[in-house]
Symmetry: C2
């Protein structure tokens, strides 16, 4: 990192767009100094409202994100968008068109859109996304929209770092059931059934509500507010019921108010765990240890090879 972490942090705090961009690049790629930057900014975070937006490819997440940006801007809030891995497979290219549309806002200083495709970051994608949100939070953005495709555990973990998690679905056969199986039911604070004019939209809303009643008490406790997620119908394409969706999101935000500090603590705990694991992995697999493992596997009689026993032995080896 050419700039020192402290210089970057100070530029971020005074909301210099170019410095923000540089800080985002640093955390995305875990450049040297990125950890110091995150630590320096951390005390300035905790003010922004982080909304995770997730769901299957083709559910209309990007269009909806665009609508939410407009709605938030209309009431005077500044908005940052972190689009996680827009190069994610098989989105059908719709994303690109939407990004172009968002880029039209380039004249508006109250909006900042950034895509993120971090794979190498210490602590993985979730840490890179959280650090990007920190940068925007410290820069004083009121709301950060964190958009991710809800396929794969890693992507769902990302959505789960938000204060409010919006799961976007489309009324197609089995989508609600698939969402439940994918673990989206557990992370959702608000469900949005997009493409409300679809003939199956009403049935899907009913199916979601029914499933939520069936949630085990343990799963219910996962929701910050302890309440079941709200289900809202929208049509992002036509801009229908965006107000209703904003209302549901705002209501969730209000319910968080009393537990805001506890939630931040809980999130920091989970994050430190991730970082500890990343740090350990980096230090444990020193060159020497890798070599010893390779040698052990190679020299071992193939009839004596046993993956779990070998793992236990490697973990006991001292550096």
């Amino acid at each position: 990192m050419p700039d020192s972490a402290l210089d970057l942090a100070s530029g971020v705090r005074s909301r210099q767009r170019r410095t923000i961009a540089r800080a985002l690049t640093a955390v995305e790629n875990a450049l040297p100094g990125a950890a110091d930057l995150v630590d320096a900014l951390y005390p300035d975070t905790g003010r922004a409202w982080r909304i995770g937006i997730t769901g299957p490819p083709g559910a209309g997440k990007s269009t909806l994100t665009d609508r939410l940006v407009s709605a938030l801007r209309a009431r005077g809030q500044t908005v940052a968008v972190v689009a996680v891995d827009p190069s994610s497979p098989f989105t059908g290219g719709a994303l690109l068109g939407d990004r172009v549309r968002l880029a039209d806002r380039v004249e508006d200083d109250g909006v900042f859109v950034r895509s993120l495709a971090a794979r190498g970051a210490l602590g993985g994608l979730a840490e890179a996304a959280e650090a990007a949100c920190d940068v925007f939070d410290a820069a004083g953005f009121d709301v950060v929209l964190l958009e991710t495709v809800g396929v794969g555990q890693g992507e769902i973990d990302v959505a789960d770092t938000a204060d409010t998690t919006l799961v976007v679905l489309v009324p197609e056969s089995g989508d609600a059931v698939q969402a439940m199986k994918a673990g989206l039911m557990e992370v959702a604070d608000v469900f949005c059934v997009n493409k409300a004019d679809h003939p199956e939209a009403g049935a899907m809303v009913r199916a979601l509500r029914q499933m939520m009643h069936l949630r085990a008490p343990a799963a219910q406790a996962v929701g910050a507010s302890g309440e079941n997620p709200t289900v809202v119908k929208t049509s992002a394409l036509n801009g229908e019921n965006i107000d209703g969706l904003m209302g549901a999101l705002d209501a969730h935000r209000s319910r968080l108010e009393s537990e805001w500090d506890a939630l931040r603590e809980e999130r920091l705990r989970r994050r430190v765990r991730r970082l500890v694991e990343g740090l350990w992995r980096e230090t444990f697999w020193s060159g020497e240890r890798r070599q010893r493992l390779a040698a052990a596997v190679h020299e071992m009689d193939s009839a004596a090879r046993a993956p779990h026993a070998l793992a236990a032995r490697v973990l006991d080896i001292q550096p």
Copy 2:
């Protein structure tokens, strides 16, 4: 686990279907004794040909898997299918229909189909899938087809545990580019452009071949054979050119012959690394350490909180 690991292992070796099913349940859920079972079976593995089948939802993987099962059976080989996370989100329900079709083979002792939805296994989904393949391998199945949806790094890691990795794509706009971005290009040994009668099929084949020429030498070295993946057009639905696909797979298998032992060693090394990390994670986060982390976060002045510094401190704490 009601049965001892050794009893299960012996039942698996003598190919008792009910014991195989119990062994699969044990490794899928990391039941007590599962590690011993895997270690006991490991010396009996290494004979089966493991073919990973991956690609985006809707590419026709399941139908293709079904065709490959038929082709392999027709030439007298026994086949096991491990369908990883068929409850994966947003497959559109096609999977279920196909599973039903495969289940029609229930009379055929030379076929065993098992789906796997492991999230809690030590070492994650990739370990659970590898252990399931071990069970079938030790039970003497000639070929194991490992089917996974190619979205998300975790899923791609699963496909990468196979000897031969088949990436299935459909000729739709941008699919080839998306595959490259998703990292599928690096793991593919054979590409199958399914739905060959699509007007864009030819263009897609050309695009894939072009991209492979652009692969960096480093990426090329990843392929076991050092050769670029073969591209084959099929129509799984109509059963077209399944012979051509089998030919490409067989050719890759032959190229592996001379390096079979080295590949197995390399795979065991990667696997032991995963297991070491899982084992460490389990032992490191003892109740006491979790509590200390929570207390540290809670007591810390919020202006003094710093995720990375805290992580470094936690890692130094002795149990």
